[in-house]
Amino acid sequence: MTDLSEDTEVKKLLKTQAEYFVAPADLRNRLTQSMQYAEHKKNFSPSSLLGWLGAPALQLTSSFAIGALMAFLITGAWISGQQDQKSNLLALAADHAHAMVTQNTIEIASSNMHTVKPWLSSQLGYSPLVFDLAEQGFPLVGGRRGFIGATPVAVAVYSYRQHEIDVYVLKPALYQKFPKNLESMDGFNITSWQVDGLNYIAISDMNANQLRAFGTLLSSQQEINQ
């Protein structure tokens, strides 16, 4: 059997001489931030509100209905009926943060664009251009419905290493209600483009340059195949 006794020499060397890497401050801030987004959104969730209203028996089985109600409540609480550009961007970032944290929001999990695209079309009534970019390092993960204000939008979900990239697909009428220069929103990077009458907004916590590279890749793929 091996010697199980403590080795004080090794212990002392590692305790006093080995480098102890302290977490970078911006990482700490970002973790707290993305969680606050998620909680902010959750505090307006219909289930807790219904609980307060004493209507627990009310069954909302359709996630569409839940989402629409949630979006309506958020819209009401945040924007007070006004179409505020920054609030729209905030709503998009909150939707993304919520999806990242809850991790089970993908409604159609598939790397096959011929599965994801028709599903999104059938749910939203418009056809986003979806491509799997696995060969370029950005595999398609699936699709879901996101909510911006009261409006459900198509979201194609990609991944890059440990990061998730959400590509929100908006009709121009909604996109016009966003700030003109989309680059970042409190810790998330954003890149946007337009192809074939639809606007695409990619948001992720990955590095800004990498995200722009992803945007260029996907938009050129869309241009070629539209």
Binding site: L31, N43, Q103, Q162
Partner: protein
């Protein structure tokens, strides 16, 4: 409200144990970018499963999630999807012996500096399965059973692995000091 409670607990977890989490990830992944990725992924996972943290020691629970995310990431980095087989990464004593004889090895050059950098080089040189138990035991001062639950092996294995890890570490450290007199 539960949601607020969960947020509060997560904030406490982050404020108290993020440094330990980052230190472990940084040592296992070997660079800052990968360590950040892992800590971020693991933290979101921790928030998701916050409810499962009941009565356990929060630090060991959090480090367990960090450790598993590291192993998954290391597996992906080496081109494999499945969980990494830690034991297969451990039998590198041959390489350690080689290190002693090849005086031109760049690792050896690195080790020839002062004690602090020799300790860091020796630790960096160790296989990941040895490195993790040494960090958890000597730097974080966790108990054997906590290390066992983090690394997913029996306590006996932790102890014998620690013993071999210490020997390998000393060997690597000593080789670096012999190098100085060459």
């Amino acid at each position: 409200m539960f949601a607020g409670n969960k947020t509060k607990r997560f904030e406490v977890l982050i404020s108290e144990h993020l440094d330990a989490a980052y230190n472990l990830a940084r040592w296992l992944m070997g660079n800052e970018a990968d360590a950040r990725d892992v800590v971020q992924t693991a933290s979101l996972r921790a928030l998701t499963y916050m409810e499962s943290l009941r009565g356990q020691e929060a630090k060991a629970w959090f480090l367990g999630i960090i450790r598993n995310c590291c192993m998954t990431a290391l597996g992906e980095r080496s081109g494999r999807v499945a969980d990494i087989d830690v034991d297969s990464l451990i039998n590198s004593n041959d390489e350690l012996a080689k290190l002693g004889t090849s005086a031109s090895s760049p690792e050896l050059e690195l080790m020839r500096r002062d004690e602090r950098s020799r300790v860091n080089s020796a630790l960096r040189y160790l296989p990941v399965g040895y490195r993790e138990v040494l960090i958890l035991r000597e730097m974080e001062e966790l108990a054997y059973d906590q290390i066992a639950s983090i690394t997913g092996v029996p306590v006996g294995t932790v102890m014998s692995r620690l013993s071999r890890a210490r020997q390998s570490f000393k060997q690597a450290f000593l080789i670096s000091s012999e190098g100085e007199s060459v």
